[in-house]
Symmetry: C3
Subunit: 340 residues, 3 copies
């Protein structure tokens, strides 16, 4: 952390929050409500942490109106304390500002074009006809193939691969190990051998998207694989060819979406969930962790599959019965019914 500090009234004004309590010292960092010391900003959003409020020693706590009375230190009142915290914490995020220019060890094709204000780090390779626009940052070890575009203000943190025909909008962030534009899994069985179906499309990523570490997004077979604006993908997600993901949808780690599936806007997909190919999910669908979606969903709402965790001893008994559940149900139908 570096030595930036802020007075509480300054924070209140800057972010439109109400300050309660007598502001004594400036703050210079953030901490959890449980461990914060004076000089640190904490927040209370999740009610399960409310128990720590009476003892907190934070310099200031960002919280909802109704929690202000129990706060022993100054507080900033926010309708959404987590959002306010996100904005204030950003003040303390000492992100290094890379200087524009191309590192001497980078290998840039003659037909590629890199904006003067962009920063290309060490050991980067950029292929034919690719373009890096204003203010974009290409971190160490990235590989950009042919015919790609990295939009203005994008950041490829490190060791990202854009294979071919990948176009990133503005301010897209891609984390290390992500691979965009690899060949989709297009195969046809021909006389006992697999033959490859050429993958002639690309990948189109909207403004403000974020792609997690080691996530893979295949390029389209004929048309493009598309992420609309502000889509947020966590780590180790797999997006098949020709998938389309609506704006503002977010997916937790290890989700897998098979080819040609279309997902709506403002969906939330839990970690490890899967979707088969060629289905459509409407807007505002929430899928819980490790569920498998095998058909289209046309009603907003929350969906699940799987069974609950139990001791293996109990689980084994129940699982054995699951194998014969249909028989059991048929048997029940044959039992004498209650009389009225």
């Amino acid at each position: 952390m570096i030595g930036r500090s802020f007075e509480l009234p300054e924070l209140a004004e800057r972010f439109g929050l109400e300050l309660k309590g007598s502001a004594t010292a400036p703050v210079f960092g953030v901490a959890t409500i449980e461990r914060a010391a004076s000089g640190q900003v904490a927040f209370l959003a999740n009610p399960s942490y409310r128990k720590h409020l009476p003892e907190t020693r934070a310099g200031v706590v960002i919280l909802r109106e109704e929690d202000a009375a129990s706060c022993p230190v100054p507080c900033l009142i926010a309708r959404d304390p987590y959002v306010a915290f996100a904005k204030i914490a950003a003040l303390f995020d000492a992100v290094p500002e890379p200087s524009p220019g191309i590192h001497a060890s980078a290998v840039v094709a003659a037909s590629a074009r890199v904006a003067a204000s962009a920063a290309v780090g060490p050991l980067v390779s950029i292929g034919d006809r690719s373009v890096v626009e204003d203010g974009a940052v290409i971190g160490p070890g990235c590989v950009i193939g042919e015919d790609c575009t990295v939009g203005a203000g994008c950041e490829l943190i490190a060791r990202v691969t854009l294979v071919t025909r990948v176009r990133l909008g503005r301010r897209v962030r891609v984390h290390p190990g992500a691979v965009l534009g690899a060949e989709g899994f297009g195969l046809a069985m021909d006389a006992g051998h697999w033959i490859k179906v050429p993958q002639l499309g690309g990948v189109l990523i909207g403004d403000d998207c974020e792609i997690g570490a080691n996530t893979t997004i295949d390029r389209g077979a004929i048309e493009d694989t598309v992420l609309e604006e502000d889509v947020r993908l966590d780590n180790q997600i797999q997006i098949g060819h020709n998938v389309r993901i609506g704006a503002h949808t977010a997916m937790a780690g290890c989700v897998a979406i098979a080819g040609s599936t279309r997902i709506g806007r403002y969906c939330l997909i839990g970690g490890g969930a899967g979707m088969v190919g060629h289905i459509e999910i409407c807007d505002k669908v929430l899928i819980t962790a490790m569920s498998l979606v095998t058909h289209s969903i046309s009603e907003p709402g929350e969906y699940s599959s799987g069974t609950p965790i139990q001791s293996s001893r109990d689980w084994r008994r129940n699982a054995a019965r699951f194998k014969h559940l249909d028989e059991l149900a048929r048997k029940i139908a044959t039992l004498p019914q209650a009389k009225d």
Copy 2:
């Protein structure tokens, strides 16, 4: 896309297809049946897209005999339209032909051997005693360790790692981020601490295999981990040490196979499926997405596990009952039975 174009009679002859309708203009690319314009090749394989046929404006449609009558434009009759499309689309796949030679930024060990016809891209590292054979292409950022062989005509797209003792057959394609030959997860508990079991084997990949982006294949503990010929692995698959996969088997994304399991030929493993270690799966087994295989399978056929997706409200009620399914079944056995 580049400017290659083909006359329809030329395509018909080249791929042994029957041309129906009066061929007017040449074609210069591919498109979906829904969006194709004149000058583009479309295909109809999946019956659910048949509804788009009467309105298609494609230059030509590849389809089955029985669909020809409904086609408003010229068509090419194929027994398997998807296979025919794959072959025709390949004509339009403008794959850059890398020139042979070793890029100046690559670091190649003195004891390594690279064929004169192979192409080694920028920022590649090749370790001691490794061999790159005729016509192989090693894309930017790949790391090849010690004692590896990259067979003739292989393509390592970019940022692939072969750790040690990895031997690729001919025409193997490996996508970015894949890691072959890492140490398997061999551990033994010794007096409260884990100790490492040395992983002395390698990885052997047959001809014409394909390995997806960010897929990992561990090297064997004593003998090799083996993929026979024409095995196709999608992205983010994990193959444990000493697994053996039979020829022509294909796996969709995110499959995980634990150590020493043996899988037969012509199997199809759905996305996100898993297999425990030390089991045997016979030829021609199909596993549906996200199923877990916990025992050997000796009969060809299709296998599944899991529960169907439902609204979370319904699911929670059913899942709560699953936790007591054995009790329920026992209770049913005590109920009065129907009399004949």
Copy 3:
């Protein structure tokens, strides 16, 4: 393999094992009990391989006392044959010893510090204020960002990324493609758009940990993400921000742990298992493969979820019934009960 060989009495003495049978020739490698030839060391730990013992042609077999009588060749008696094998096999593991120094193609920031006894391989990048301690090995293609520490004796095999504020203890091994210290998935919805919650913490990895290929460990939001000593993670595991994993816990491939979850010591997590965020798992918990843990666990023991693998035909019938399991249970409650 290189030409090291060992006399059997020498092995017995070195590892405190009893040698039975007349030791004739030295051994120079390891093999499975089924395939070993004279001159090779085999072992028998798993009873299901006992059938191969009478026919083995190994130079020596490491086994338990009770199997000695059935062994046709010399044997070394061990309480835990797998542990003894691990130690003996290490003698034959010809790990290349990289020479200290920084490869000419590596790019090291002026403010970074690399110990004279450390080895930094080709095409490595090391950022500002990072430290590589005594005897550490940084393999080809690794990217180390800002403010990281690689402890004494660590090994980053190849193409590993440490993003920022990652501190590795001593003798930590990290396999290719792993990404430590990427931004956690911290998002808040603000007026219909996602905003980023800054991730100001780091990653702290204890001594003797091992991190598998393509595994990702996010840095903490406020405090650190922590692995205590001797934690062993297999490939393609995802560890969310602020997770804490207790000493000696091991996880098989493709496990995913969501943010802020705390896991105890000596836990074993099966392949593909998942845990939701903000829960606590006590010591000595075993989770079977592909189970989802949705609540805290406070009792040591084995836990499972899911349903057994079946033919899809049977599975579909049972799965259809699962969707109405609650109704079925309610119906049973209405049936006439048995009279005493």
